[in-house]
Amino acid sequence: MKITDCKELEKIAKEIRKNIIKQVYEAKSGHPGGSLSCADILTVLYFNQMNVSENEPEDFARDRFVLSKGHCSPALYATLAERGFIPKEELTTFRKIHSKLQGHPDKNKVPGIDMTTGSLGQGLSVANGMALSSKLNHDGYRVYCLLGDGEIEEGQIWEAAMTSSKYHLDNLCAILDYNGLQIDGKVEEVKGLDNIEGKWKSFGFNTIVVDGHNIEQLIDAFETAKMTKGKPSIIIAKTIKGKGVSFMENKAEWHGKAPKEEEYKLAMKELE
């Protein structure tokens, strides 16, 4: 499935946002802020870029995706449901006992999930392993890895960045959901995180900075990454935490909090 019409992709992203809010509301817990900020990125990946099939989720030739910021599982589940990997009705079971939809993604429970994640900082290394494997046997599949900006405070991310670069993993494309906020506040303040593009550049990455809510820019960035040979790419997607729900936007407090009934109704109205 490859949808090229940006308007149509925007519609899909809106549906995904609604289902993010629904899941977190139903579960009375979860992470809406960072899920909403990466909804457009996931839309472009699953409906325009990645070679995946809902009918054959285990197809060996498929492209791989690692949600390194695993707490944004509602965004991934909503995307997989929209694409037909899982039934939409199942979304109401998110975070409930015996559900396939665990708080953080479990590859052995949900079709279409390539890696179990949740403990931050490990996804890029895992993606490197997949990309190295693809190169070793000339399998040809590409590997995508979505990182949070708070997450890159983990040292292992930079260990992994050196690996991606050392092995010239041009079949790997990382995406940074750069929404600027983490639980305790702004990323610049909590850990002094700045010059993010410079950091990735100095680690040997091809960097592409885009508006992470602009579908067209995202598509172009992924195409540029594909054409870049000899080095890994990272798309630094400038995003807004809570994007699409006015009272959640740019508020760190919505990192991991469920909306109350009134807030839920308001959010769903805004997303109509």
Binding site: R64, N108, G121, A127, G129, S134, L136
Partner: protein
């Protein structure tokens, strides 16, 4: 037991990996700047395209191995035990054991027998951490023959495995034809005075003790518990029933290791006294391996003394 031919299990590991690499092209090997010490350099020389030196980045290494495993590769990952089980514990837990990925963690330089490097490098808690992880199999081979078997055998089972090996060269205990089975301990001798249950690089001490005691007319048996998980319950219960006492010995903290594993079994199945020999909840120090073994009381002489105490 051949005390003339002493081989470190890490050496056997390196050589077995090369053989395995020839048989199975899905084997990939990762190391963290220690390939000359862990002996993965032998594989690297033979199969450079399937060897990945991850630099001094153990956490990255373990997670990268997980990525390989999702693509049907069988990664063998090596570094010192303290940096594998210790430094990369969370990666092993969340990226390997929880998703039940087919990663073989082959850790060398475990225990006090690391010697001169001292406490920071002497891993004494890896058995307890690794055996507490669901899906994990834990092996602790004791000689050259058994290590070679273990390295090849674990490629046949699907799922994470932790293999604990040593730096110290130890005697060859088994003949090449010896059969082993994961989860089945090896009984050496039929004596009923005591069961000396040992694992890894101190199995040879247990055998030395058994042989010396025989000369004095005291008959014991040695149980080589090469698989820590799943533990051989049947063998432990049998020994509890047949022998006067159970002594466990390990180059590991007595908290949580082999001794604790044995206690867990007898406490539930056949309550009896167990004497746990090992490192008594303390860190190690620098010194020659043999000196440290004496100081921390994990030698044949210490076992003999324990057997004779009634």
């Amino acid at each position: 037991m051949n005390e003339q031919i002493k081989i470190a299990t890490r050496q056997s590991y390196g050589e077995a990996l090369v053989e395995l690499g020839k048989e199975n092209e899905n084997i990939v090997v990762l190391d963290a700047d220690l390939s000359s010490a862990t002996k993965t350099e032998l594989f690297a020389k033979e199969f450079p395209e399937r060897f990945f030196d991850m630099g001094i980045a153990e956490q990255d290494m373990l997670s990268t191995a997980a990525g390989f495993a999702t693509c049907n590769k069988i990664p063998y990952v090596s570094t010192f035990a303290v940096f594998a089980a210790g430094r990369a514990y969370d990666q092993i837990r969340n990226s390997i054991c929880y998703p039940n990925l087919n990663v073989k963690i082959c850790a060398t330089h475990s225990g006090i027998t690391v010697g001169e490097d001292g406490a920071t490098h002497q891993m004494l808690e890896d058995i307890v951490m690794m055996r507490a992880l669901p899906n994990m199999t834990v092996l602790c081979p004791c000689d050259d023959v058994q290590t070679r078997w273990a390295i090849k055998e674990i490629a046949k089972i699907k799922g994470p495995v932790y293999v604990r090996m040593s730096r110290l060269a130890t005697p060859t205990i088994y003949e090449k034809e010896q059969n082993f089975e994961i989860g089945k301990a090896v009984q050496i001798g039929e004596g009923t005075k005591a069961s000396i249950i040992a694992t890894g690089d101190v199995v040879c001490e247990a055998i030395k003790a058994k042989e010396e005691l025989e000369k004095q007319g005291i008959f014991t048996r040695v149980i080589d518990m090469h698989t820590i998980k799943p533990i051989d319950k049947e063998m432990i219960i049998k020994c509890a029933k047949e022998t006067e006492k159970i002594i466990t010995i390990e180059d590991h903290n007595i908290i949580g290791g082999l001794g604790s594993s044995v206690c867990e079994v007898v406490a539930e199945e056949y309550p009896c006294k167990v004497i746990r020999m090992g490192i008594k909840d303390t860190f190690g120090q620098s010194g020659k391996a043999e000196e440290l073994m004496k100081y921390y009381e994990i030698t044949a002489e210490n076992i003999i003394k324990e057997v004779k105490l009634s």
